[in-house]
C-alpha cells in the first residue's frame, strides 16, 4: 500500500542526475577552485590552501572587507524597510478599500520587471537633472536634491531605496495571503470585548502572521545578501567602491580572470547566507512553536 505512495526510481533518478550535474557538481567544483590560484593570466593552476580566504579577510588585492560590510548594511536596512512597508501595504489593502485589487496590482508590478531594467531606468530617474530632482524642485524641496547615485552620502542609500521600491509589493502579497488566513471571528469577538485596533493587531494579527513574516524576513535576507543586479545596473559598485557588495566584487574578480579568488568570495557569501538564513529560520520558527 505504501509502495504506491512513493515515486518510482524512474521519476527520481532524472531529477537527481540533473540536480547533481547542474548544481551539486558546480558548487563542489567552485569550492575546490577556491583553494587554487587559478588566474587566466598565468599558466597552470596551483593549490594554495586557504590563502584566498586570508586575502579576503585582509582585503588584500581588492576591497573585500568593505564589500562584505556594504552587503550587510544593504541587507539589514532593506530587510527591515521592505518588511515594514510590505506589512503596511498589506494591512492597507487587505479589505475595505474598493479599489484594493487595482492597488495590489500596481504595487506588485515592479517585482514583475527585471532588476536590470529597473536599474537602468532609475539611473535616469535619479540623475541630477532627472525626474526625481525635477519633482522635488517643483514642490519646493530643491534643497533636498542630490546627485543620488554619485554622492558619497546618498549612493548606497539610493540603491537600497530602489530595491525596497522593487520588493515592497512582493512582501505585501505574501503578507496579504497570511492576513486572509486569519478568521474574521477573532476580530469580531475582540471587538465585542472592547479591544482597540492596536490590541487586535498585537494579539491577533501579528501572532497569526508570524509564519508569513518568517518567510518574508528569511527570503528578504537571502535576497539582500545575494544582491547583485540592482547594484550593478545602478552604480556598478561605484562611485569609488562605495556601493561595492560581495557579488559585484565576485563579478569583477571573474572579469579580471581571477577564478580562484572569485570562487572563494562566492563560497564566503554562500556560507554567510546559509548560516544566517538557517539561524533566522530556526529562531523565528522556534518562537512560532512556543506560542
Amino acid at each position: 500500500m505504501y509502495k504506491k505512495k512513493y515515486y518510482g526510481l524512474k521519476f527520481v533518478v532524472p531529477a537527481f542526475i540533473l540536480y547533481t550535474v547542474l548544481y551539486i557538481i558546480p558548487t563542489i567544483a567552485g569550492m575546490i577552485i577556491s583553494f587554487t590560484d587559478w588566474n587566466i593570466t598565468r599558466p597552470g593552476v596551483h593549490f594554495v590552501g586557504i590563502q584566498n580566504y586570508i586575502n579576503i579577510f585582509q582585503s588584500k588585492g581588492g576591497p573585500y572587507l568593505a564589500s562584505i560590510s556594504h552587503t550587510f548594511e544593504f541587507t539589514i536596512i532593506t530587510v527591515i524597510l521592505k518588511t515594514l512597508l510590505g506589512l503596511g501595504l498589506a494591512l492597507l489593502l487587505n479589505k475595505g478599500l474598493k479599489s484594493r485589487f487595482v492597488f495590489r496590482t500596481i504595487f506588485f508590478l515592479p517585482y514583475a520587471l527585471a532588476p536590470l531594467i529597473i536599474g537602468i531606468s532609475f539611473v535616469s530617474v535619479l540623475k541630477p537633472d532627472g525626474p526625481f530632482n525635477t519633482l522635488l524642485t517643483a514642490i519646493g524641496l530643491e534643497r533636498l536634491t542630490h546627485s543620488w547615485l554619485t554622492e558619497a552620502s546618498t549612493a548606497l542609500g539610493s540603491t537600497m531605496a530602489v530595491e525596497i521600491w522593487r520588493m515592497a509589493g512582493w512582501n505585501m502579497m505574501i503578507l496579504l495571503a497570511g492576513l486572509q488566513m486569519i478568521p474574521e471571528e477573532y476580530y469580531e469577538a475582540a471587538s465585542i470585548d472592547g479591544a482597540t485596533a492596536g490590541q487586535k493587531f498585537r494579539k491577533i494579527t501579528l501572532p497569526f502572521l508570524r509564519p508569513s513574516l518568517t518567510t518574508v524576513i528569511v527570503l528578504n535576507t537571502i535576497h539582500g545578501l545575494r544582491v547583485f543586479d540592482i547594484i550593478y545596473s545602478l552604480t556598478g559598485g561605484g562611485p569609488g567602491g562605495l556601493t561595492e557588495v560581495i557579488n559585484t566584487q565576485v563579478f569583477k574578480e571573474f572579469g579580471l580572470g581571477r577564478y580562484g579568488m572569485a570562487n572563494a568570495l562566492n563560497v564566503v557569501i554562500f556560507i554567510i547566507t546559509v548560516v544566517i538564513a538557517l539561524s533566522m529560520q530556526k529562531a523565528l520558527r522556534g518562537k512560532e512553536s512556543n506560542e
Binding site: 587566466i40 593570466t41 588585492g61 546627485s147 562611485p239 562605495l242 569583477k252 572579469g255 581571477r258
Partner: protein, 416 residues
C-alpha cells in the same frame, strides 16, 4: 502507437533533417568563428565578411559579447579549449594577459606583415613574433579644446603646464561656460587620465614600464603621478569639471561638446568628427588638442594600435583563416575599411593612407615625445579598475598616493 508518439517522432525526424540540412550548407567550405566585443565590430566588418563569404564559399560566424564582458568570456573560452578561430584583443601589452605562447598563432610569415608600419608591427609583436592582424590605428588621449570658446575667454596661448591650464580654466569659467566635460560616471574614462600620465614617467625614467611588467617596480612612490592625481582633485574643487561631474556619462560627451557649453574634454584625436556629426556647425577645424597638462606633462601617450585579430593556435581551419586575413589585407578592402571607419586615424599597413586627423597632428606638434600609455604599456593595467579607485578621490577623500597603492594591490595577484 498513439498520436503523441507519432507527433514526437515526426518532430524529432524534422529536427534531425534540419540539422543535416544545415551541415550540408557548410559542406562547400569552412566555417571561421570570430570572437569580439560588440563595440569592436562595425558595419564594414560585417560587409567585408559577407563579401568574403560570397567569394570563398567559407562562412564567417561572429561570436559577439557585450564589451564589458568580452575579456571575461574570451579568457574563459580559451581556458576550456573553446576559443574562436579568430579572437579580437587589444594590441600591445594586453596580449600578454591571454598567454600568447599557448593560445596565439605566430603570424610573422604572413605576407601582409611586410606591409606593417612600425607602430603596428611593434604593437602586435610579442617575444619577436607578430601575433595579430591589425587594421585599427594608433591614437591617444589629450585635452581637446574648443578654439572659439578659448578666443571668447581671451585665452591666447594654448596651456603648456598645469598653471597655464588652470588659468585657462578660470577664464572659461568667468564667461559662464564649464571648462572641462569629464564623464566621471565612466570609471574607465577617469582611468584614461592616469594612463596618459604614465608616459611622462616612462620618458623621465626609461625602464619604468619594464620594471612594472617584471614586478620589480611599483607605482606607489611615484611622486609625479601622485601629484597629477591630486591636481585632478584641485581642478574639481575649483569647479572646473562643473556640477555633479560624477554623474556625467561618456555617451553624452559628443553632444556636450557639440552644445558649445563646454570648452575642453579628454578625448582621442578623431573625436571632433563625432561632434561635427551632431552639430555640423561645429566643424573639426574648430578644435585643437594639447597633451594632458597635469604635473606639467608634455608627453603624449598613445595606444599600441587599438584592437587586433589573433589566430587561435588550436584552430582547425588555419588555411581558411589565413585566406580571410589575406582577403582583408587587400588594398581595395583596406581602403573600403578605412573610408568607413572615420573614427580611425593612420592606417596600419603602409599601402593605404588612412585618415590623419588635424587634432592628431596638433597634439603631436605640441608634445615633446610620444610613447605608449599605461593601458598598452603596463601589464594588468585596467582603466576601469583604476577609474574606480580614482572616484574615491572625489567621493571618499582618498589621495593620489592611495590610488597608486591601490593599483599596485590590484595588479599584484596577477603576478602570482
Amino acid at each position: 502507437m498513439n498520436n503523441k508518439k507519432i507527433a514526437a517522432m515526426t518532430i524529432a525526424a524534422a529536427m534531425a533533417a534540419s540539422l543535416l540540412g544545415a551541415n550540408a550548407v557548410y559542406a562547400a567550405g569552412e566555417t571561421i568563428t570570430i570572437a569580439a566585443g560588440a563595440g569592436w565590430v562595425k558595419d564594414i566588418d560585417k560587409e567585408l565578411a559577407a563579401k568574403y563569404e560570397e567569394e570563398s564559399g567559407n562562412t564567417i560566424e561572429w561570436q559577439v559579447s557585450p564589451d564589458d564582458q568580452y575579456e571575461n568570456v574570451l579568457g574563459s573560452k580559451l581556458a576550456v579549449g573553446e576559443g574562436a578561430d579568430i579572437f579580437y584583443t587589444r594590441s600591445g601589452i594586453t596580449m600578454n594577459k591571454y598567454q600568447p605562447d599557448k593560445y596565439m598563432m605566430d603570424l610573422s610569415d604572413q605576407e601582409w606583415v611586410s606591409h606593417y608600419v612600425d607602430w603596428a608591427k611593434e604593437g602586435t609583436s610579442y617575444d619577436g613574433k607578430v601575433l595579430q592582424f591589425q587594421t585599427w590605428s594608433v591614437d591617444g588621449w589629450g585635452i581637446l579644446y574648443n578654439k572659439d570658446i578659448f578666443e571668447e575667454a581671451g585665452i591666447t596661448e594654448v596651456p603648456t603646464n598645469f598653471e597655464t591650464f588652470k588659468d585657462a580654466c578660470e577664464k572659461v569659467k568667468a564667461i559662464g561656460k564649464t571648462p572641462i566635460y569629464e564623464s566621471g560616471a565612466a570609471q574607465w574614462h577617469l582611468g584614461v587620465w592616469l594612463s596618459g600620465m604614465t608616459t611622462q614617467t616612462e620618458a623621465d625614467t626609461p625602464g619604468f614600464y619594464a620594471g612594472l611588467n617584471d614586478n620589480s617596480q611599483t607605482l606607489a612612490g611615484q611622486d609625479g603621478l601622485a601629484k597629477a592625481l591630486d591636481q585632478m582633485v584641485e581642478l574639481n574643487d575649483a569647479g572646473y569639471f562643473g556640477d555633479d561631474f560624477m554623474a556625467n556619462t561618456w555617451e553624452d560627451a559628443p553632444g556636450k561638446m557639440a552644445s558649445g557649453d563646454y570648452a575642453m574634454c579628454v578625448t582621442y584625436t578623431t573625436f571632433p568628427a563625432e561632434v561635427e556629426a551632431i552639430n555640423p556647425e561645429m566643424t573639426v577645424d574648430k578644435f585643437g588638442m594639447f597633451p594632458l597638462p597635469l604635473n606639467d606633462n608634455t608627453t603624449f601617450g598613445v595606444s599600441a594600435g587599438g584592437i587586433g585579430r589573433c589566430v587561435n593556435k588550436d584552430t582547425k581551419v588555419a588555411d581558411a583563416v589565413y585566406d580571410y586575413l589575406n582577403f582583408l589585407a587587400r588594398p581595395e578592402n583596406l581602403t573600403a575599411y578605412y573610408e568607413a571607419r572615420l573614427d580611425l586615424g593612420p592606417c596600419s599597413l603602409n599601402d593605404i593612407p588612412g585618415n590623419v586627423p588635424a587634432a592628431y597632428e596638433d597634439v603631436m606638434s605640441r608634445s615633446s615625445v610620444s610613447g605608449l600609455s599605461a593601458e598598452d604599456g603596463i601589464l594588468y593595467w585596467d582603466n576601469t579598475q583604476v577609474g574606480n579607485l580614482m572616484q574615491g578621490m572625489f567621493v571618499a577623500g582618498s589621495t593620489g598616493a592611495d590610488v597608486l597603492q591601490g593599483i599596485d594591490d590590484l595588479r599584484q595577484p596577477s603576478f602570482g
